[in-house]
């Protein structure tokens, strides 16, 4: 949650820190267990054995090479969105516009990819990805600009901009961007498929001799026949870069300063408005990347059922939850995205295996979110007690669950409190 404010640890204190970390994790684990307990009750009410249910869920998420790959595929766009959310929330900007920004990125990316189908991939692919980032950044930046210069609340504007992006996408996919082979036929709103050489490559890991046999894998390469693609690696690399940006550069420092205390930042000579726009541009840019990566790496075309979710699979919203679970730290978002990916993919498997209605899974996911955020209270309590009891250990002493908020923040939601 708070790697950012962590006092640097010395190697000798590493074990104690790890112990504290484990203790920190206990409330989270207990609360997850509680959520699963309630879920078990619901499963029993539906005449499904909870043991069957959860084992099917676990199997569906991490049970095989393919399901692990699917979990990671699900995690990829959520992680990309979450990286941007970390930056914008740290900058005091509550970006709820991930869905719309993903769409903006995907539309721009596919347009470039389709028009560069004969250009060498080494040029065309980066250009398409860049187009996605820029379009997302502009769309996110629009909300930032409205906030900074017209005082239009960003929660409101991004919700509205999401709805607008969906209709723009519908319009484009029914008209200018419609797959030429669909015209006059079935009229499914989708673009043409992008050229094969422009698709982001599938990711597989060569294994040393004998390992495949050991785990009775079908192929000599791990993830060989799965949908896992290089977008995951891109997302992880960017998470590290975003972490460095936030805590090792002046750009990041300024964004955080504005988020923590707008007035103080202003007195310190930081251009508050520009940094608000910048924070939103990063958020939008990363969401745009998520959009374009989904298109180039997975779907190979942009297609919708007329709703945002039809394309984004809700990654724009789920990214917020992932970012907050990851403590608004891009590095923390990596495991958080995989956890959520597994939850979502595993839940589908439970439906397939046991005929559990999809609705049950939605509500269980909701409970897990609630229980997990509520557990923070107990985690903070344990940390406090430890500090008071003299058992304070180096490494976690400086940890406060939230960055200190000024008494009366003029117009900023304490970034970590949302």
């Amino acid at each position: 949650m708070n790697g950012a404010f962590q006092v640097r640890t010395t190697p000798t204190s590493w074990f104690r820190t790890a112990g504290n970390r484990l203790l920190d994790a206990a409330p989270l684990l207990i609360s997850l267990a509680l959520a699963f307990l309630i879920a078990s009750g619901l499963l029993l009410a539906l005449n499904v054995s909870p043991i069957d249910g959860f084992s099917s869920m676990l199997q569906g998420a991490f049970g095989s090479e393919n399901t692990i790959a699917e979990t990671l595929v699900k995690a990829t766009p959520m992680l990309l969105v979450a990286i941007g959310i970390c930056i914008s929330f740290r900058g005091g900007m509550i970006n709820v516009g991930g869905e719309g920004q993903m769409i903006a990125g995907a539309v721009a990316g596919i347009t470039v990819a389709l028009s560069l189908s004969t250009t060498p991939p080494i040029v065309a692919v980066p250009l398409s990805i860049l187009a996605g980032f820029v379009a997302g950044a502009l769309y996110g930046g629009l909300a930032g600009w409205l906030k900074a210069f017209f005082n239009v609340n960003e929660i409101l504007s991004t919700i509205m901009l999401n709805a607008i992006a969906v209709q723009m996408m519908n319009y484009l996919l029914n008209g200018p961007l419609l797959d030429p082979t669909e015209v006059g036929v079935n009229h499914v709103p989708k673009t043409a498929r992008i050229a094969e050489q422009l698709q982001i490559a599938r990711l597989s890991i060569p294994l040393p001799e004998g390992v495949a046999e050991l785990f009775s894998l079908q192929n000599a390469e791990l993830f060989a026949r799965t949908r896992l693609h290089w977008g995951l690696i891109l997302a992880i690399v960017l998470a590290v870069l975003a972490y460095l940006l936030l805590w090792r550069t002046t750009i990041g420092y300024r964004i955080r300063a504005v988020g923590e205390n707008e007035r103080a930042a202003k007195y310190a000579g930081i251009r508050v408005r520009w940094n608000m726009v910048l924070a939103m541009m990063f958020a939008g840019g990363f969401a745009g990347l998520a959009g374009v990566v989904q298109v180039l790496g997975l779907q190979y075309r942009l297609q919708t059922d007329g709703s945002a979710m039809g394309f984004t699979a809700n990654a724009g919203f789920n990214g917020i939850v992932v970012a907050l679970f990851g403590g608004l730290n891009p590095l923390g978002a990596i495991p958080a995205s995989i956890f959520f990916g597994g939850l979502l993919v595993g839940a589908q498997k439970m439906q397939r295996d046991l005929g559990v209605p999809a609705a049950l899974i939605t509500s269980i996911n909701g409970m897990i979110v609630i229980f997990a955020v509520s557990s923070e209270y107990f985690r903070a309590m344990i940390a406090r007690r430890r500090a008071l009891g003299g058992g304070s250990m180096p490494g976690t002493q400086a940890v406060e669950s939230r960055p200190k908020l000024p008494e009366n923040p003029p117009d900023v939601i304490g970034q970590a409190t949302l």
Partner: protein
């Protein structure tokens, strides 16, 4: 919960299907897995497939099993499900019931050439021998409903609520408009696409807007029509539906429903797969092959005489459409050839 596997003991032999059963899954049970976007109780698209599978399940008993994943609006989630089924090797037929699933089917069918896939609504089999495509000539029932609407409307003002302008929704609406125009050129029919399949409040207000502008007959397609049906009931108007039967909900407002009988396609597919043909064909439900069925509401509030007119009109128009005398959508003639279901 009726989803998931079921074992209903009805002798399959009685239906002469034993000889047709495939050897794909090492036993005599034909296993189907299907994924659909909305819920199986939506009174619309997803329900039409679920009902068909349920019907086959009841007919074939032990010789048939199916598993169903509903509520999968997210194409990616459907991709996971389809891949899971395909790679398990346990299913004789994997159905992707939604035109948005096309790309996924294309990819998986290439990767799993030994698995039979079916998807719709579309006509594209991607040139693959293990893909069947199915669609429905929704304009046929749309045309008949439109003609009936024109006959029964007193104000000559008819409203149609659609989701987005795609697939069978577009065909139905276009057919409906064409049917109204052919029957009563003076009648006006207005269409609102509300840009959503599920927004009940908006669909309801769209229907109310039609009513306050003088419409006395309503129709619509997609799962949000439960709202407009309520408006029809409240204002004592007539309702025409499509996809699944909405007779019970529409009560005395309901007149006629175009019902998709996917079991017609499924029976063909089961037979073909049994003979070792995994796909390659594209099927169209039509009035002629019984895949499009016109159901007159048993709860309708129409009087005997009018009801007789309705039934006569349906019979006459069906005949005309089947014989080719009536072409619901002339401009559609030029579409790529699709072999009709046998």
């Amino acid at each position: 919960m009726r989803k998931g596997l079921r074992f209903l003991a009805v002798g399959a032999a009685a239906f002469g299907l034993v000889g047709l059963l495939p050897a794909a899954a090492q036993d005599d049970v034909f296993r189907v897995a299907a994924v659909s976007p909305s819920a199986t109780n939506d009174l619309a698209f997803s329900q039409s497939m679920f009902d068909a599978l349920t019907m086959l399940d009841e007919e074939m008993g032990d010789a048939f099993e199916f598993t169903f994943q509903e509520g999968t609006f997210i194409v990616d989630d459907a991709a996971v499900a389809l891949r899971d089924w395909a790679s398990s090797g346990e299913y004789d037929l994997v159905i992707a019931h939604g035109s948005q699933y096309g790309s996924v089917v294309e990819e998986l069918a290439n990767e799993f050439p030994e698995v039979a896939f079916a998807w719709g609504t579309d006509v594209n089999t991607f040139g693959l021998p293990n893909v069947s495509a199915y669609t429905v000539a929704a304009e046929q029932g749309g045309y008949i409903n439109g003609a009936l609407a024109a006959i029964l409307s007193e104000t000559g003002n008819i409203g149609v609520i659609g989701p987005i302008e795609v697939g069978d929704a577009k065909l139905y609406v276009d057919g409906f408009v064409s049917g109204v125009g052919a029957t009563d050129p003076d009648a006006t029919v207005n269409v609102t696409y509300i840009q959503s399949f599920g927004d009940v409040p908006l669909a309801t207000e769209a229907a109310t807007a039609f009513v306050s502008n003088g419409a006395d007959v309503l129709s619509g397609t997609a799962q949000m029509v439960v709202g407009p049906i309520g408006v029809a009931l409240e204002n004592d108007l007539l309702w025409f539906g499509t996809q699944s039967s909405q007779a019970e909900l529409a009560a005395e407002s309901g007149v006629a429903f175009q019902v998709y009988r996917w079991d017609v396609v499924l029976r063909d597919l089961i037979a073909d797969i049994g003979e070792g043909t995994l796909g390659g064909e594209s099927y169209v439900l039509t009035l002629e092959n019984g895949g499009v069925e016109m159901e007159v509401s048993e709860f309708t509030g129409l009087d005997e005489e009018t009801l007789a007119t309705v039934e006569e009109t349906i019979a006459a128009l069906s005949e005309g459409i089947i014989s080719g005398e009536i072409v619901p959508l002339p401009e559609l003639e030029a579409t790529p050839e699709a072999t009709p279901a046998s």
